[in-house]
């Protein structure tokens, strides 16, 4: 099963390699990983999407906790969260396709951030389902390149 794990770590040199080394060394997989500073500049947050059976997830959570610069590990699976991912997509935009791109951008509340003669670059933010749907709709028009941030998530309410 897929899990989204939020990890607060000391914002120091080498933490990312400790975390990624833990995953690769123990054969756990990482689907996506996002890292950035939090409100406290000494603390960073990693949002990791991974998958495995209950026993593997339990090991992942425990192993993360065992790392010394790791301050807190929260499994967001089953928690009510808002999660978002951003994609940048370069898509063909010539002839009839142009109108279709504009229509999709409007429907998905995306934005065109760069324009070239036969190609638009679009920025889109949303939950996983929306991102996938958007990409699927664009595909027939000819996607040239996709860059995704991977998921970030925050719990709802207080």
């Amino acid at each position: 099963m897929r899990h989204t794990i939020s990890v607060l770590v000391e914002n120091e040199f080498g933490v990312l390699s400790r975390v990624s080394g833990l995953f690769s060394g123990r054969g756990f997989n990482i689907e996506s990983l996002c890292v950035a500073e939090t409100m406290d500049p000494q603390v960073s947050r990693m949002t990791i999407v991974t998958s495995g059976n209950d026993q593997i997830i339990e090991q992942i959570l425990k192993q993360l906790n065992k790392l010394i610069p790791v301050l807190k590990v929260i499994d967001l699976t089953g928690v009510d969260t808002v999660d978002r991912e951003m994609v940048l997509v370069k898509v063909n935009a010539d002839g009839d396709g142009k109108q279709e791109v504009l229509r999709l951008v409007d429907i998905f509340r995306a934005r065109i951030v760069d324009v070239a003669p036969r190609c638009y670059t679009i920025e889109m933010t949303g939950g996983e389902g929306k991102v996938l749907a958007f990409l699927q709709m664009l595909r027939p028009l000819g996607i040239r390149e996709i860059v995704r941030t991977g998921k970030i998530a925050i719990s709802r309410g207080m």
Binding site: R18, G25, Q55, Q59, K66, V70, L71
Partner: protein
């Protein structure tokens, strides 16, 4: 007070009570060597290979319980420590390894003698550091010792760029360590402890399975007290040898691949297991799906990752074995339930006693050939069971575990987790340095001893009177044993046709050499060798065909033992 990084290093070690550093110099650490030259508090012992230095620090730590310290240079000096680090990591041994590093500005440049030892050692250390400012050095050293020796102990590496050692800063060694991401749990959760005792008392066929954690947390006294209060049979892992007195009637000896028949039968037929400071290693459990099929499992471990890793545990207790056993003792000591329980479990102990009786550890003596088990028995007899024994890896290690009855913790030092050939001699030297009054014996194999034989020079130079007994079977015996049993006796690359002449080699190093070639010579040669001053190497020519039994073939269940 302003000091150079090198001076800070030496002063911090002295202030932390470090009495000895095992090391080897080089360009990146030359400032430290200069500072050491001027300091009398911290003694430095010059090993002959950095791997040896780490195993010495490790042997020192296992024998004494104090953190072992090692100092090496950058590049090859640092990479030579990797096997030692991995050995200590697998067995949870508190050591701190300091490595020199190329100057900060050259890091990443493929500079002369540069190795990314922080990257290389990450998976085989509990934690590691790169010093980025001289002013941080004292704090990092303090933290390194704290992390190495608390919680589940383990090796910590501190990488020190050369410019950090040359530059100056104020000496500021913190009194306390506070790491917000590291807070080990010592006390067991009271409700879990109560449930565990209740579960134990509700069953009829209990076994205690004790591992190295009991020794690391100095909990042997508590283990004995608790087990005796409830008359619980106790089996130990290889790492747990000595955690419970081998001569106690409740002792079943070692379990697992080369464990005793009684221990493996007891575990397999038990209805409740109290695992204390042990981690259900594959060499212990055999085929995991057939492990202890009828048992409920209580698992006490300070490391939460050990729990539920290999087997399903019914009652997990995260905590220090010593604290948790104390909590358990309080719940049963002097209670009438304890008396009733001992009565209820008497039949089970009777069953175990019959397994002990029908299948003791044994071997077939032979005329003319020296049996290695006999040699170990003779070492036991001669040392009255009071030596500190280190081992190499292979058959020698298993016979040393099986045929020397360990009564005390910290008397059996062996590379259990990693199985590092070449561990025994340097570990013996480290143990002897920590425990100058004790007799320290390395029970060695002819293959393994050659992996760190150079440390004989260290022993001779510092007059460290370790006694090495080589069970010289002329083969890489344990590998040969597998070839014999599972590969049609194709002895591929496992013959070591008695090269070199170990007696001459010992003499070349300035140690004393002895040899026994016939069974009747063994007691006298051992006696002479152990009585001789200084480091001694005793070459015992043993039966090359001898095998270690019982043996659970890899992948088989624990009850499928091959017997003598």
């Amino acid at each position: 007070m302003q000091m150079t990084g090198a001076e800070i290093f030496v002063k911090a070690l002295a202030d932390l009570g470090v009495d000895v550093v095992f090391g080897y110099p080089g360009g990146a650490t030359i400032h430290i060597y200069d500072a050491l030259f001027k300091n009398v508090k911290v003694r430095h012992m010059l090993c002959r290979h950095e791997q040896g230095a780490v195993h010495m620090a490790d042997g020192y730590a296992r024998a004494s319980g104090r953190t072992g310290v090692c100092l090496v240079t950058s590049g090859p000096g640092a990479t030579n420590t990797v096997t030692g680090l991995a050995t200590a990591y697998m067995d949870s041994i508190p050591i701190v390894v300091f490595t020199g590093q190329v100057p900060t500005l050259l890091i990443g440049n493929d500079a002369f003698q540069e190795a990314d030892i922080v990257g290389i050692s990450r998976p085989c250390t509990k934690h590691n550091y790169l010093v980025k400012e001289t002013k941080d050095l004292a704090r990092i050293i303090k933290e390194a010792f704290y992390i190495a020796s608390t919680g589940r102990p383990g090796p910590v590496l501190v990488d020190m760029p050369k410019d950090m050692l040359a530059a100056s800063a104020r000496y500021d060694l913190p009194k306390e360590v506070s790491l917000r991401g590291y807070r080990p749990t010592y006390e067991g959760h009271p409700r879990q402890v109560e449930s565990a005792v209740r579960l134990l008392l509700s069953r009829e066929r209990p076994v205690v399975y004790a591992g190295g954690g009991v020794i690391l947390s100095n909990a042997s006294g508590e283990l004995a007290e608790f087990s005796r209060a409830l008359s619980l049979p106790v089996t130990t892992t290889l790492m747990g040898m000595g955690a419970f007195p081998g001569s106690d009637p409740l002792s079943l000896g070692m379990l697992g691949m080369h464990g005793t028949y009684a221990a493996n039968m007891a575990i397999s037929n038990s209805d409740v297991i109290l695992a204390a400071g042990a981690r259900f290693d594959d060499r212990v459990t055999g085929k995991i799906s057939e492990f202890a099929p009828h048992a409920k499992i209580i698992h006490v471990d300070i490391d939460p990752t050990s729990i539920q890793k290999n087997v399903r545990v019914d009652i997990p207790i995260v905590g220090d074995v010593k604290d948790v056993l104390r909590q358990m003792i309080k719940l049963v000591k002097g209670k009438k339930e304890a008396t009733a329980y001992r009565g209820k479990t008497a039949a089970w102990r009777g069953q175990i006693a019959s397994w002990v009786k029908t299948h003791p550890l044994t071997y077939k003596p032979s005329k003319g050939k020296i049996k290695p088990q006999y040699v170990v028995e003779q070492i036991h007899k001669l040392t009255k069971g009071k030596a500190i024994v280190t081992t190499e890896v292979g058959q020698n290690q298993m016979w040393a575990a099986q045929f020397y009855n360990y009564e005390q913790p910290r008397t059996f030092l062996s590379s259990g987790g990693l199985g590092t050939m070449g561990y025994g001699l340097p570990a013996a030297i480290g143990a002897q340095v920590a425990m100058p009054g004790r007799l320290v014996v390395d029970i060695a194999g002819d293959g393994s001893i050659q992996m760190n034989i150079q440390e004989l020079a260290t022993a001779v130079q510092y007059r460290v009177p370790v006694k090495v007994v080589i069970l010289n079977n002329g083969t890489l015996g344990m590998v040969r044993q597998w070839q014999e049993l599972f590969f049609d006796g194709n002895y591929s690359q496992t013959c070591l046709p008695r090269i070199p002449d170990f007696v001459k080699l010992a003499e070349a190093y300035g140690a004393k050499g002895f040899r026994a070639t016939k069974p009747e010579e063994v007691p006298e040669v051992l006696r002479k060798g152990f009585a001789a001053d200084g480091p001694v190497l005793i070459d015992v020519i043993t039966d090359p065909g001898e095998m270690v039994y019982p043996m659970v073939p890899a992948g088989a269940g624990l009850t499928e033992m091959l017997l003598v």
